[in-house]
Symmetry: C2
Subunit: 348 residues, 2 copies
DNA sequence: GTGAAAGCGCTAACAG
DNA sequence: CTGTTAGCGCTTTCAC
């Protein structure tokens, strides 16, 4: 470690200024000088110091990202997509997990700000408690929220259109003959949980069917499993269960299976996200696919638009999702699907 | 953005040196000065510039991590564990995905080196092709490999004891009565695939049972599904299938189910990793649990031991895994397990 | 086209 | 205990 541009300049017999110009190519130098410098750099194994460059340029080429947890496959997918988007523009991702805790989240925000990230992409863990830290960060650096957001609408956001999503899910099970349907999701500390519940209630009201009181816990396999058991224990089963995410749906499926309930013959189940293993559980899960790549692309694009200190209306971009029909839901015709379990039939 | 330590010093009526000392607390200042400085910093909303500090200190407090892909839940888990370990010591994670491509991997290594990470944790995607770039990086900065490693043994590594893992898996299905068993895994471009196949062959030889020729593809759900189909197509089924990871196992399970094969009555299936949804698939998967937290802790600890340029024998730490028996494998007694599907019975 | 020098923000000598 | 100053490695005026 430790060959600097001074070493390169000396070896090439030019000034550091010329060396810098030759290496960056952003300014004219004699071809002969350029050649000599590049040669020297290669021979010495010169590697530009990004830290020094960052200090000088006041820009790090680094984007900070904070998600509640990397264990949740949905967040994983979105991290992956964002990382991919950033590659395109030569930037790197500084990744943090808030572990679903506003205090940790605030701390992570501070260290990212201290590291002078050029922008921040965050899925705030708590609708209310996350707000102060997020708004404060947004004052310092371009910030866009993904999936979850904070109350008050003070910062840009890109996510899915939950109303559309839930309407598709509810209409689908209703078309399959469901007359009573229950929603199993997370407690309402985050925006996704709130929006999805609201969307569900709207959709069931519009469809004129009985929405039993929702079961609210966490976005986890374990909660889905538990909810499934309590459904089994608490009297007559609903015709359909709509879930707040796929993890819940998979856990629920497992509980129903253990309880001897046939899906979809007795109960239809619909998930949300379409994570990788949704197509491989048994039966393959009917779910609402989040447009993750689009969301990531949109988030990165938005990030480039934001100018700190330039007052401008906060953008909210809700992308319409698509229902992917697999085999946990009854079809309108009354039959069930067959297939190889890999690809579902998609609604148009 | 832009309140510096100079601003704080001026506001407090002291020199930048005193301000720095007061803020860091690493040197004596009058309590009264300390108070004034802290007050001024708070009022101005001063946030130390980590980039400047890094340039000055020649250390960034940043660890780079490169994994083949974030889509694979095993890597996700390990990233999560490493991130968690780093938090403890106030360091941050610069995360990259190589997308299973040595060229991209080499490029990512270079940018991490340019960013002057204090250390590197990598799971090299290719046993051979990854070697030059990884060894070169190891020459510049402390580097430890996790899970996968490169040929030649030139760099530190921490992972699982694959021989022990496969022995446990094979012995378990043999105890359950299996006389023929096939191994479904990834092609041999990475060390995990090689070691696991070797471990499998060793274990079957020792057990004196028929190991049919292995099916080698990728560590994905899709490959597991495909392998399952070809097993169904290609004549008599084996008594047991041991898989290179859980993704493969879950895909395979699905294919067998579609083919009308009962698991574990007709075929036992064993996975590898014990990722989150292994307990929730149907039936819950018997698998070998990777000690991910220990691996991450060990990797971070090792990183602290390495001194670049100090020649020292490369460490190789193989942690023994544990077989988690769930319901895809026949037990020695000939029966199958029952349970809530959440926790498996663990071997001691 | 090239070089000298300033300066990004910070901390650690080094004097006082 | 406090202040002044050098310098981390880089790019970019500003003169020549």
């Amino acid at each position: 470690m430790g060959v600097t541009i001074h070493d390169v300049a000396r070896a090439a017999g030019v000034s550091v200024a010329s060396a810098s110009r030759a290496l960056s190519g952003r300014r004219k130098v004699t071809p002969e000088v350029a050649e000599r410098v590049k040669q020297a750099a290669a021979e010495l194994g010169y590697r530009p110091n990004a830290v020094a460059k960052a200090l000088r340029d006041q820009t790090t080429g680094t984007i900070g990202m904070i998600v509640p947890g990397i264990g949740n496959p949905f967040f994983t997918t979105i991290v992956e997509a964002v990382e991919h988007q950033l590659q395109e523009t030569g930037r790197d991702l500084l990744l943090c997990a808030s572990l679903y805790t506003p205090e940790i989240e605030a701390r992570r925000l501070n260290t990212l700000l201290a590291r002078r990230v050029d922008g921040l992409i965050i899925s705030p863990c708590d609708f209310e408690a996350s707000a102060p830290a997020v708004l404060n960060a947004a004052r310092q650096v371009p910030l866009v929220q993904v999936d979850r957001y904070i109350e008050g609408g003070g910062a840009d956001w890109v996510g899915v259109d939950d109303d559309s999503a839930l309407a598709q899910a509810v209409d689908h099970v209703v078309a399959g003959g469901a007359r009573s349907v229950v929603f199993v999701s997370s407690r309402l500390m985050n925006s996704s949980a709130r929006l999805r519940l609201a969307g569900f209630q709207l959709a069931t009201a519009r469809a004129g069917i009985a929405a039993r009181s929702p079961l609210l816990g966490e976005f986890t396999l374990a909660w889905g499993f538990e909810a499934g058991r309590s459904l089994l224990a608490d009297g007559p089963l609903p015709d359909a269960v709509v879930c707040g995410n796929d993890e819940i749906a998979v856990g629920l499926l497992r509980a129903l299976r253990l309880g001897g309930v046939r899906v979809p013959e007795e109960v239809s189940v619909v998930g949300f996200d379409d994570v990788g293993h949704a197509a491989m559980c048994d039966p393959p899960l009917t779910t609402v696919r989040q447009p993750v790549e689009e969301m990531a692309a949109e988030a990165v694009r938005l990030l480039g638009q934001v100018r700190v200190g330039e007052p401008r209306a906060a953008q909210r971009i809700a992308i319409a999702p698509r229902l992917v029909v697999r085999e946990t839901s009854r079809l309108a015709t009354g039959g069930t699907m067959t297939g190889d379990g890999q690809e579902g039939r998609e609604t148009t």
